[in-house]
């Protein structure tokens, strides 16, 4: 009798655990901190244009790749209620790198200013007139000071 009771309790606990895990999977927020994830590609301010000029290495980047980009800040804005950094290479010309910043970096963003050289890590989404990255996190600030 006791054996059956123990078995039932174990089974119930197992069902509850599976239910919790399933619910966690269904309900998990679409957020991820990529800061400690392994970078697949690193692009520096010097070879930025090699990747993001049309018909160049842009074709080698796949959507959803995690990329670390070094660039100069062209603009920081809060359009649409989101913090976004626009990066450029050595020249101030299109195409730019649009980095939609991960939330929780407001303190770091306040320290940034135009023409600072920074490194950000983000998920490459694709290329329109500019290269689009989401979930960006600042990894280095003022690299050449």
């Amino acid at each position: 009798m006791k054996k059956i009771q123990k078995k039932n309790i174990a089974l119930t606990l197992l069902v509850v655990l599976v239910g919790i895990l399933f619910w966690w999977y269904i309900d998990r927020p679409d957020r991820h901190n990529y800061i400690n994830d392994r970078t697949l590609i690193a692009i520096s301010v010097d070879n930025l244009s090699d990747y993001f000029e049309p018909n160049t290495k842009i074709n080698t980047l796949e959507p959803e790749q995690l990329v670390e980009i070094e660039g100069r800040i062209k603009e920081i804005n809060t359009l649409n209620g989101r913090h976004t950094i626009l990066l450029r290479g050595r020249q101030d010309e299109s195409p730019y790198i649009i980095c939609d910043m991960q939330t929780g970096q407001e303190k770091e963003l306040k320290l940034l200013k135009e023409n600072d050289t920074i490194k950000v890590k983000g998920v490459f989404k694709g290329f329109l007139k500019d290269a689009v990255f989401l979930h960006c996190t600042i990894t280095h600030h003022n690299l050449h000071e």
Binding site: Y25, I26, D27, R28, P29, D30, R31, P63, E64, N77, L79, N80, R82, T84, L86, Y96, I98, D100, K125, G126, L128, K129, D130, V132, L134
Partner: protein, 181 residues
């Protein structure tokens, strides 16, 4: 007489200057909403590109389908992998014309934008009522329209049919700046 000629030249020159240029929005916002009794789904894309040619009122919009941000990770996965198949059809585009658009008219004007919206490799003709604000030398275009899921050959499994509305509400807002090619 001389003053009149100077005035006409000035108006023509400034007018030509304004209508000759193109304007660009690199961070336009497109959001969609699906309301059902089971669940509400909303997503937004804040990196939508749009260019308007002020000389003829033509407008083009392009967006990356995988750049929509959802509340839940599973919603994004379903959207990209099962519904819009963003690996096969990465972009959605709109090409059209702003009817009776006056780029020199300051303040607010309500206009119809007529054109073709292409998503999931399916094109549909749309007419969208749009608000255009021209304030301090910058243009803002905003509006909304409704899209039928069936029109774009998006297949929803019967099990999830109750979770997704048949008609999706799409909101958009673009802030433009001068564009130099």
């Amino acid at each position: 007489m001389n003053k009149f000629i100077i005035l006409v030249c000035f108006i023509l020159c400034t007018g030509y200057h304004v209508v000759a240029q193109k304007i660009i929005a690199r961070q336009g916002r497109v959001a969609f909403f699906s309301y059902t009794p089971v669940e509400n789904i909303k997503a937004e894309n804040n990196q939508v590109l749009s260019i308007i040619d002020l000389s003829n009122g033509s407008i083009a919009v392009s967006m990356l389908m995988n750049a929509f941000i959802f509340e839940k990770a599973l919603m994004r996965e379903h959207f990209n992998e099962s519904y819009v198949e963003s690996d096969l059809y990465p972009k959605a585009t709109f090409v059209g014309e702003i009817l009776d658009f006056d780029p020199l008219l300051r303040g607010e004007q309500t206009r119809i934008i007529k054109g073709n919206f292409t998503m999931h490799d399916v094109s549909t003709a749309l007419e969208i009522k749009t608000k255009i604000d021209y304030i301090d030398s910058s243009y803002e275009v905003s509006g909304s329209f409704e899209a039928m899921v069936n029109d774009y050959e998006i297949k929803i499994p019967p099990l999830l049919a109750g979770n997704i509305a048949k008609v999706i509400t799409v909101d958009f807002r673009f802030e433009y700046e001068p564009y130099q090619e």
